[in-house]
Symmetry: C2
């Protein structure tokens, strides 16, 4: 995979990202409506200000997505109960899956910062959620992973790392912004992760049994 | 309800808290084992350092729990789609439910900071989760609330407010700690909320259908 020459201008971490179906007709519609998402943004006090600071974060992180994703993956690799999610039945890491899902993880960092949170974004959040779950995990990459699902409990708990200021703020400060601006970028990021976890929870819940329960 | 004279010494926000069954034989066992919770703490990078800073936060927040809980409730009251969770079928707030659940919310703030995260704590997290869900909501207080469940999506999204540094840090700074210590208290608090959301998600998920899915 050739890395894009100009991630700042394209907003893409690579010229091609296998399985990155953002906006594609391959993916379905989110079960969460835009009206429902408006309510969730109110719950989280996610405002236009946060959108502004996410855009700034997107510029700051554009060339750092590989390093940030790598940092998280080093932590995953150090925890055997998380590392299983990219291991084949023989216990070895599936290299193709690791590469393609890694590129998509990097692109997700930038999408979190730069995409409008519209219908296409909602739809892709649902696709990401399905790819964590047994509904679609491993399918996209035809991967031979021993574990058919990423357990929701570990996805949520790991968000403490994804939002950890000790990890995130050095990246957000790397282009010379002052501490107040870094705080604002970090807080907008954290709110977005809470909102995305709401959306990623959907396939694991009893929605089909009792639509009002989750 | 008489307010305790010495919340600092008892760790309790009131001499009596109706329905507060922490450690009681009235409540069941958590479906999450201590071993599983150990893994979740690793996921979240929740360490002994965080326990230390939560204890400090507990001392700082001891006499501020009513004010902090009140701040969150003002936000809930301002959002009609959240305010329904304490409204009776006639649209009026159920005063008894508001008072008793409010005291339990205050106590939860202190428990988050001062309780050991042991089996009793895990069990009570499950009880809190059940009381959000249709399994037990309103039962504890015999409340006549129109809505039989607090929808998981709103619980998770509101955690962006529960962890919002703009709200939380002024409370954590109120006893004169410097900014670095306030940061550490806030970060420990945030990690704990991520972990508790994992636990609170359980009743909403397909665990009984497919135990490995969440």
């Amino acid at each position: 995979m050739r890395r894009s020459q100009s991630v700042q201008s394209t907003g893409m971490v690579a010229a091609e990202i296998p399985g990155y179906d953002y906006g594609s007709s391959n993916i379905g519609k989110s079960p969460v409506t835009l009206g429902e998402f408006e309510q969730l943004m109110l719950d989280a006090n996610f405002t236009d200000d946060d959108v502004h600071w996410l855009r700034q974060a997107g510029k700051v992180l554009a060339d750092q997505a590989p390093a940030l994703a790598g940092k998280w993956r080093d932590i995953i690799a150090s925890l055997p109960h998380l590392a299983i999610y990219w291991q084949r039945p023989d216990g070895k890491r599936d290299a193709h899956y690791a590469e393609t899902s890694g590129l998509r993880l990097q692109q997700w960092i930038l999408d979190t910062c730069q995409r409008p949170y519209d219908q296409a974004w909602l739809n892709y959040q649902q696709e990401i959620a399905l790819r964590h779950s047994s509904v679609k995990k491993n399918e996209t990459d035809h991967a031979q992973i021993a574990t058919p699902t990423i357990h929701l409990r570990h996805i949520i708990a790991f968000c403490a790392v994804i939002t950890d200021p000790a990890i995130m703020k050095p990246f957000l400060a790397a282009k010379g912004h002052d501490a107040i601006d870094v705080d604002k970028m970090h807080q907008a990021w954290t709110k977005s992760i809470w909102l995305q976890i709401v959306l990623w929870t959907e396939p694991y819940t009893n929605t089909r049994l009792a639509p009002n329960e989750w």
